[in-house]
């Protein structure tokens, strides 16, 4: 139904325009009938890109891909790949493992909001938000010093916009 691949520099200024672009493309494709799915994707794309922009080294390239299959057993897969540091890879492994193990995604999200409430830096909150608000499962693939965060959700029986 749709494969979208975007390569962009590690630049926080590109996050919001990229989110808006992806949201607009999906609105054109699947329209108002799937408004919630489109908004979930926009949220996930934003949080993934900000995570990448925050932790990739200066001058790095980030690769975002979105694959949407709206058939009867369809799925949605969003990937963000970027180089990062071994220290951040270790943090990502911890956050993703914690999120994957959570019985209640929303309870974990709220717990992570309250964890170190005066610390404005490293929280993993964006990833917990992807799971809780974006309703997507998370995986992490690490190769050398490159991390790929994969967000997946079911997307069956999507109607295309007229």
């Amino acid at each position: 139904m749709l494969t979208l691949e975007i390569g962009l520099d590690r630049n926080a200024l590109l996050v919001t325009p990229t989110r808006r672009y992806v949201q607009r493309v999906l609105e054109c494709l699947v329209g108002a009938a799937n408004k919630e799915l489109v908004e979930r994707v926009a949220l996930v794309v934003h949080e993934l890109l900000e995570n990448g922009a925050k932790y990739a080294p200066a001058g790095a390239r980030m690769d975002l891909s979105l694959m949407l299959d709206g058939s009867a057993d369809g799925s949605l897969v969003i990937r963000l790949t970027n180089p990062t540091t071994p220290v951040h890879v270790d943090r990502l492994k911890q956050f993703v493992a914690e999120i994957q193990a959570a019985q209640d995604a929303t309870a974990l999200y709220i717990e992570m909001m309250c964890r170190d409430p005066f610390d404005q830096n490293t929280s993993g909150l964006g990833l917990a938000r992807i799971r809780a608000e974006g309703e997507m499962n998370l995986d992490l693939v690490v190769a050398a010093e490159t991390a790929t965060i994969v967000a997946r959700a079911a997307a069956p029986h999507l109607q295309q916009a007229a």
Binding site: A12, L13, V15, T16, R19, K35, E36, E39, R40, A42, L43, H46, E47, E50, A53, K54, T106, Y109, I110, M113, C114, P117, F118, Q120, S123, L125, G126, R129, A132, E133
Partner: protein, 122 residues
């Protein structure tokens, strides 16, 4: 004292009236806004204390999107407000648009951070 901030993509304003401090956020709250929003909420806290208001209303309805870092600044503010003595404490009312997915889901999570302090209105 009526705290306000304005960046290229985001603005926040406030006014005091009848025991309430009304704030309105407008625009896109991404990573570029986090520090300004944190400063604004710090000023809101000081204004709420100095004016002895019983409620601070945060109108989020015209916020296009708010990232997790900005949500965390609101959490921090809630924790700061919670540290006030009971007699000086103010309620936080989050006014949101239930038709916008991130607003509906994020404010419900924020309300769970301090159920005794945060109320929702749509």
């Amino acid at each position: 004292m009526s705290p306000s901030i304005k960046t290229q993509a985001f603005s926040a304003s406030s006014k005091v009236g009848e025991g309430t401090l009304l704030t309105k956020l407008v625009g896109n709250a991404d990573i570029g806004v986090k520090t300004a929003l944190a400063d604004f909420l710090g000023q809101v806290h000081e204004a709420a204390r100095s004016e002895s208001v019983s409620q601070v209303v945060v109108d989020l309805k015209d916020v296009e999107f708010m990232n997790s870092a900005c949500l965390k600044t609101i959490v921090t503010w809630i924790f700061v407000a919670r540290e006030l003595p009971l007699a000086n404490r103010y309620e936080i009312l989050l006014d949101y648009d239930p038709n916008v997915l991130w607003q509906r889901r994020s404010v419900h999570a924020l309300a769970c951070v301090a159920t005794e302090l945060v109320r929702l209105q749509s």
